[in-house]
């Protein structure tokens, strides 16, 4: 084998929702591949299937048909308990609304995934140290014992990133990570993700914001449950035409 390791591979991924006898195809034979160390954005108007794709890639849902191979393991047919274990070991999430536990310190929020790690990769006595390292890595070394309500939005999202990183996931899935933030805090979060990317993290970001997508290497545009276009951003700014289309439809 040559070239980088494949982290995400989907083959004809299809998701059909049945509602009141009418079936809606949210994802229609989506095949894509994301390699280790890639920074990818998924964009698309509402109803394009990007949320469904994100949920399946994030192992929160299973496809109706097709295959999803995550880090060499076919996860398309796993049950709830097995999926929970995959989420714990291989995935890190960053949500739009941070989703930290209220009345729980930043440190305790960060180490929460370790609580559900059945492989016991880290012994409990190491948790605190590990959590501190993660918080220091996101620049919150002085906010360990603060509760979410005592932190700004940007700081809360940093705690969420530290939480996503603690189990050393193969891919980080970010759902509109800057959606609730002002542009300055949003930019700081994106710079942090850039930094993680430089450190060889694989990141998939779902967004409708072209500025966010511009930070990535590749943008996958979805339309009506299918891949419309894949744009390689490189370090170049986003093509003007694409930008307009996205504004108009999102």
């Amino acid at each position: 084998m040559t070239g980088p390791r494949t982290i995400i591979e989907t083959v004809d991924l299809t998701k059909v929702y049945g509602m009141d006898g009418i079936s809606v195809t949210a994802l229609d034979h989506v095949s894509l591949r994301i390699n280790a160390g890639e920074f990818v954005a998924i964009m698309g108007p509402s109803g394009s299937g990007k949320s469904t794709l994100m949920n399946i890639l994030g192992c929160l849902a299973t496809p109706t048909s097709g295959k999803y191979i995550l880090d060499g393991e076919d996860v398309s047919g796993l049950d709830k308990v097995q999926l929970a274990a995959i989420r714990n070991r291989k995935l890190g999430y960053i949500f739009q609304s941070y989703n930290l536990l209220a009345r729980t310190t930043a440190l305790r929020n960060v180490v929460l995934p370790l609580l559900y790690d059945r492989t016991h990769k880290h012994p409990p006595e190491k948790w605190e140290q590990l959590g501190r390292e993660m918080l220091e890595a996101v620049g919150l070394g002085d906010r360990m014992d603060h509760q979410p309500q005592e932190l700004s939005g940007g700081q809360q999202q940093r705690v969420a990133i530290a939480r996503a990183l603690i189990n050393d996931p193969v891919v980080i899935i970010a759902d509109e990570p800057t959606g609730n933030l002002d542009s300055r805090s949003g930019e700081e979060i994106m710079l942090l993700l850039d930094k993680l990317h430089q450190q060889k993290a694989t990141i998939v970001i779902v967004t409708h914001d072209p500025i966010v997508a511009a930070h990535t290497e590749r943008t996958i545009h979805l339309k009506d449950g299918q891949i419309d276009t894949i744009v390689h951003n490189g370090k170049k700014p986003l093509p003007a035409a694409r930008k307009e289309v996205n504004y108009a439809t999102s």
């Binding site: 929970a84 989420r87 989703n99 536990l101 009345r103």
Partner: protein, 395 residues
């Protein structure tokens, strides 16, 4: 749960009441059992109480069916299987000696068999005899506490006391016996029944043998047939008073009957408390279920987050079940404290004796935990079955 202390406390109220009721209920049962067993050890189960079925006394009372002193003698003399007969009559008088004067002291007039029938032992001196009774000797035996109150450390035997206007010579002091079935044996004075009837009882005549008496205590040989003895007494009394046995002129009660009555009163009370306990525990359980369902709804987002970072349905179920259990156990703890306190206060405030049984606390705790687990399971299961995507999208 921390943020809603009042909500949790109100939820736990049912459990608290239920657990307290269980403990109090068992304390009352144990108290009753202790009282009965005390009575059995001090009186024995082979005791028969004979009384006149008519309670009318004094002039104008129907003659012929009143129990008289002679009846007691006749029972003692002519019925086989009877080991002792006691005639008792109580009065309340002022007792004086030297400078000490005590009001409302209970005086028990009894026949000498009183000592054996009631299993009383003499600490110093002697109890009165048949001869004391027949010769109406003005003697008195003191209960241990009364002796101390009247004479302090000096030996009372040989001293005299003034009961109302009658001077009596102390011939003995009893060993401490304590309170048995509401009668405090230690604070009383005991005198021959003849002296009681002669000097204190409110009868217009001083003829001992014909004097009306309220009750006769008959001690039966444990080996004798109780029913047979009762029948013989009925026949004897009917014959002596010229009535038929069927007229039921005399009431004959056994110690067993009295214990049964006592048990039935407390068992009524006990079953009431058992109902209170059961209903409170169920209501408490429903309360816990309700609050847990509210909690699951309020924390749906949190459940989604936990699921997204790897919590399995079992993890979520266990988390909520633990909270329900914790709530019911804290309720159980408070309930146990309330129950112990309640049983103690109840024992002080009512005539019923209460004994706190340690195992009842365990039982109460166990039922609280069972209620928590049972009623916590449904909400916990609801939480466990949430779809992570729906849970994350909640609000």
């Amino acid at each position: 749960m921390r943020k809603n202390k009042i909500r949790s406390l109100l939820t736990m109220l049912g459990i608290i009441i239920g657990v307290a009721a269980v403990i109090i209920m068992i304390a009352i049962s144990a108290g009753t059992e202790a009282t009965i067993s005390d009575q059995i050890t001090s009186l024995g189960t082979n005791l028969i109480f004979v009384s006149s079925a008519f309670t009318r006394m004094g002039p104008g009372a129907s003659s012929g069916t009143e129990l008289v002193y002679d009846d007691a003698t006749a029972i003692a003399d002519s019925i086989s299987g009877v080991t002792g007969v006691v005639v008792e009559q109580d009065a309340s008088e002022t007792v004086k000696t030297g400078a000490i004067s005590l009001d409302s002291i209970s005086i028990t007039g009894a026949s000498p068999d009183f000592q054996t029938v009631r299993a009383i032992t003499v600490a110093s001196g002697r109890f009165f005899t048949d001869e004391d009774v027949s010769s109406k000797k003005k003697v008195v035996v003191l209960g241990s506490k009364l002796a101390t109150e009247l004479f302090g450390t000096t030996d009372p035997v040989g001293q005299t006391i003034l009961v109302s206007t009658t001077r009596l010579t102390v011939i003995g002091v009893l060993d401490a016996k304590g309170t048995v079935g509401e009668v405090d044996y230690d604070t009383r004075a005991y005198i021959p029944i003849s002296v009681m009837l002669d000097k204190f009882a409110r009868t217009p005549f001083s003829r001992i043998k014909g004097d009306t008496i309220r009750m006769v205590f008959v001690q039966v040989d444990p080996k004798a047939n109780m029913d047979n003895v009762i029948l013989q007494i009925q026949i004897l009394l009917a014959k002596r008073h010229n009535v038929t046995v069927a007229s039921n002129s005399f009431t004959i009660t056994t110690q067993q009957d009295i214990i049964k009555t006592q048990e039935s009163t407390t068992s009524a009370f006990r079953s009431l408390l058992a109902w209170v306990a059961g209903v409170s525990l169920i209501v408490g359980g429903i309360g816990i279920m309700n609050i847990m369902l509210v909690s699951v709804t309020e924390r749906t987002r949190e459940i989604g987050v936990r699921q997204s970072i790897g919590a399995t349905p079992a993890d979520i179920r266990w988390q909520f079940l633990t909270e329900a259990l914790l709530m019911s156990l804290v309720g159980g703890l408070i309930g146990a404290a309330v129950g112990i306190g309640g049983a103690w206060v109840f024992g002080l405030a009512s005539s019923m004796r209460t004994v706190i049984v340690p195992s009842s606390i365990l039982l109460a705790f166990g039922s609280a935990a069972a209620v928590g687990a049972f009623f916590g399971f449904y909400p916990a299961n609801q939480a466990a079955q949430l779809d992570p995507i729906d849970a994350l999208r909640h609000e």
